[in-house]
Amino acid sequence: MKKTFFNILILGIILALVSCGGEEQKQEDKNIAKGLFILNEGTFTYANSSLTFYDPVADTVENNLFYRVNLAPLGDVANSMAIDENGMYIVVNNSKYIYKVDEKTMKYEAKLDGLTSPRHIMLIDKNKAYLSDQESTGLWIFNPATMQKTGFVETGNTTEKMVRVGNEVVVTNWSNYYQPETSNSTIQFIDVETDKLVDEMNVTAEPHSIVLDKNNNIWVLCSGGYMPPCEPALFCINPATRQIVKRFDFAEGDYPSSMVIDKSGENLYILNGGFGTMDLYKMSVDADALPTTALVNSQSMVFSTVAVSEDGGIYLTDVKNYVQNGDVLRYDSNGNLISKFEVGIIPGMMMFN
């Protein structure tokens, strides 16, 4: 008995010593067609952000694209993307860097780091871009061609989403969580020639999304705050006169979280509701009241962001319970479901190339 016992032990040790697990992964080559990128945030501090590409013509989905091409993770909490003639830029918030990749092959090209809490990119020209930041009070200026920081526009508030109106960039001041002395209920105007703050306007708390319509008015969606009581509202502003053209207040308890505008600048698409009740509403920029009927009912899905294609097709991300892969749902312009596909964890920003 003793002998058998020790023989088994020795065998066990030898087996353990010789086996070394893990097969080598190979980098994949890609050639990205026309379609939709979906950036999946992943879980905070887990660095499981990922990039998905959807080809609507072939109806094919490629998940974990960045990892498969570069054999490295995208990083921790990928927040936004931008694309120009130089390439594609992916802002990774909690890793505090921007990755630049080839827009066709997804191969890594360069990195810009040393940022505080990077959020969104506004490309000004091929050698200049603004980058908003949730902790630093202003906008970083960088050269997207060289991926070097070139300056900083001090605005006194932290910055979030941006829209370009002529020679100005309008930026929302969404959060004062890390800068409690600053404003989280304003929008600011920056002159792109001088890189200076030229004006600001008050809205309600947490102006999140900002878009430009066909009339050259800007629309600002304020979630109203992250803890009740909140003051959720939608503003239509004439950027030239700095006047509020229209204001729409949401009902107490509403949480409008996201807004985009279609290509023609005629219709706003707004996500509003609560956890598991976030419905999609469509609203004409000429309307005088908030829509009361949802275009797409969440049916207990957890919608997070919306994108609208050139032909009016609607894409919605469903983040489910935030700890597993989400879905993207594709609807026609009337809100009829066409298809659904699985993406990564917490699908956030979507962008057409």
Partner: protein, 632 residues
């Protein structure tokens, strides 16, 4: 504590009884590994799974497929789990401050609430009449790791005084391959250094029929936390400063047929967690600067009385008072911090004895009352949480000597933590306790002869925890804990230990294998399609093994660890960031005893394995350590 004075009339019975649903970590192993942390000891020598963030980083336990807050840690019988977090960081417990480490599960956890997975007991004990106690140990290792451990004391006939003191530090600047950068690159770990100090004075006084014990456990540590691999270029400062004093006083009185023990404990702990980044102009942005101060008072009366023949009665009455002051509970950054309080009274009774020749029965029943309040004066009314029964049957097979089978049923609960109740934002004051029912089946085999002994144990468990607390998303951007999950944990444990002596040789091997399958079967999980999926960071398989060869005064030890794949999300995908690959580690040590001196050379991670225990947390490759000991 000091079992040597216990009445030994029913010794044979006691031995069998002790073996059901509990196991002591081999005393010789505990003794030889005094300079490591309890987390390392449990990883290498127990079935408890430890999730560690790396050397110096947090290490929490998962016992029988549950989570860290379901592993109760009892120090000399009193609960150490933090009232705010519910868990214990095993990396902060030096084996040096313990004399005995044992594990309990199933119905053996019934005397306290909280141990739905199991209990890790750490106890202090010292024999009387041993004279001068002088023990000095020091370690020097890779990454400038330094340890100094001194025990000084005197053990007289009826009095013991002993002081233990230690200092342990490491720069932890090991080199690793960062597979999260492009391209992958060799890097030095940064900001992972730590420094721990501790002192533990103890006193024991034996009177005619009684024993008085006092132990004071004091510790101070500064730990820097490194960034995860993709974030290594971040200009971020993160650290935890921790200080605690844990004081324990016990009075034990014996009579012919029983004993009573009164225990009092006061635990005070202060923790400062700091996280800072820097803005465009170099100004710091403080993300987290929380100070948590907890004050815990525990009072226990524990009576044991022989009844009739082998039957014994155990009664415990415990009163606990917990208070936490934390900036995490305040309504706004400038608001006064809140100090939620909780008090608990627990009534516990157990009987055990023979119901037939080879058949023992143990039954327990507990009733807990809990009251809590946020304000400074009044408490909510104390409310009964319910009655919690357990029953265990032990059958010693008459036809196979040394073979016994245990079957147990237990019902227990766990209070929500104060963080669950009062965290701002999200804390949910309406949370109920978690409610767990477990069925156990154990088989033990023990074989003994002059030169050889063998212990073998296998156990199956099946437990269902209702109202399992999980933080879930809300309408707003913060999450809230809710009693949404219904967790099924089932599995198998195997343990063996064998010793063989031959002339001047001594061979020892031991090992553990655990299969734990833990899933959430609640409606909530079904709604999101995650029912039936293994919970994150609980490996389906893990194992360890230890072998030692001794020849005269020389010894050679080998330790093996295996950790299977672990989910880090609820996805089936094999994407690296969703499922961590399995890994195996091998450690060896080689030592020589020279009279009162002992020298040892240790190699950890002998094969230089590249692995991650927690996603994107760098772990050291091969490292070396010298160990020196002088013991009077």
């Amino acid at each position: 504590m000091l079992e040597s004075v216990e009445i030994s009339a029913s010794l044979v019975y006691k031995k069998a009884e002790q073996k059901s649903m509990e196991r002591k970590i081999d005393a010789a192993i505990v003794k030889s590994l005094k300079t490591i942390s309890l987390s390392q000891l449990l990883i290498q020598h127990s079935p408890v799974f430890i999730k560690t963030y790396g050397p110096g980083g947090t290490a929490t336990a998962s016992f029988r497929g549950t989570t860290s807050s379901h592993t109760l840690v009892l120090w000399n019988g009193l609960q150490l789990n933090s009232p705010s977090l519910g868990e214990v960081d095993f990396s902060t417990i030096p084996v040096f401050f313990t004399d005995e480490v044992s594990l309990q599960w199933g119905s053996k956890t019934s005397a306290n609430s909280g141990g739905l997975g199991g209990v890790v007991n750490i106890d202090n004990s010292q024999k009387f009449n041993e004279g001068l106690i002088l023990d000095f140990r020091t370690t020097r290792g890779s990454f400038d790791a330094k340890g100094l451990y001194l025990t000084l004391g005197y053990s007289a006939k009826n009095v013991i005084t002993r002081v233990k003191a230690y200092r342990n530090s490491s720069d932890n600047d090991f080199t690793y391959t960062n597979i999260a950068t492009i391209p992958h690159q060799e890097m030095k770990q940064k900001n992972a250094d730590f420094l721990d100090y501790g002192v533990m004075p103890e006193m024991q006084l034996r009177l005619k029929k009684s024993l008085l014990t006092f132990v004071s456990w004091n510790q101070l540590s500064h730990r820097n936390y490194p960034q995860i691999m993709p974030n290594v270029f971040n200009n971020t400062k993160e650290y935890v400063d921790n200080y605690f004093t844990r004081n324990f006083l016990s009075y034990k009185y014996y009579w012919n047929t029983g004993r009573v023990e009164v225990k009092l404990a006061y635990f005070h702990e202060k923790q400062d967690y700091f996280l800072e980044s820097y803005t465009s102009n170099g100004n710091p942005v403080t993300h987290i600067n929380t100070v948590n101060v907890s004050d815990v008072l525990r009072h226990l009366v524990d009576v044991q009385q022989d009844l009739y023949r082998s039957w014994k009665l155990y009664v415990k009455i415990q009163y606990d008072h917990e208070k936490v002051r934390s900036s995490n509970y305040s309504a706004a950054p400038d608001a006064t911090t809140l100090s939620p309080k909780r008090k608990m009274i627990s009534f516990y009774a157990a009987v055990d004895g023979k119901i037939y020749k080879d058949l023992d029965l143990r039954m327990t029943l507990r009733n807990d009352l809990v009251g809590r309040d946020l304000s400074t004066v009044a408490y909510d009314n104390m409310e009964s949480v319910g009655f919690f029964p357990t029953a265990t049957l032990t059958y010693r097979m008459p036809f196979v000597k040394g073979l016994s089978v245990n079957a147990g049923y237990s019902h227990n609960y766990r209070n929500p933590t104060l963080n669950d109740l009062y965290w701002n934002p999200g804390g949910n004051e309406n949370l109920k306790g978690e409610n767990g029912k477990t069925v156990d089946l154990d088989m033990n085999y023990h074989y003994d002869d002059i030169n050889f002994n063998l212990d073998f144990r296998t156990g199956f468990y099946y437990s269902k925890v209702k109202d399992w607390i999980q933080w879930v998303p809300t309408n707003y951007r913060y999450w809230m804990p809710k009693n949404v999950s219904e967790v099924l944990a089932r599995g198998l444990e195997l343990h063996f230990n064998a010793n063989y002596r031959y002339a001047l040789w001594n061979f020892m091997i031991s090992g553990n294998y655990v299969y734990s399958h833990t899933t959430d079967e609640s409606e909530y999980a079904q709604q999101y399609g995650t029912d039936g999926k293994q919970l994150i960071y609980i490996p389906l398989h893990h194992a360890n093994a230890f072998a030692e060869v001794k020849w005269k005064t020389w010894n050679l030890n080998y330790t093996f660890e295996f950790t299977g794949e672990r989910n880090t999300s609820m996805n089936d995908d094999e994407f690296f960031a969703y499922q961590l690959p399995y890994y195996m580690l091998h450690h060896i040590s080689f030592g020589k005893q020279l009279n009162k001196f002992r020298l040892e050379f240790r190699v950890n991670n002998l094969m230089n394995a590249d692995y991650q225990t927690v996603l994107w947390r760098a772990m050291p490759g091969r490292s070396y350590e010298f160990y020196f000991e002088f013991k009077l």
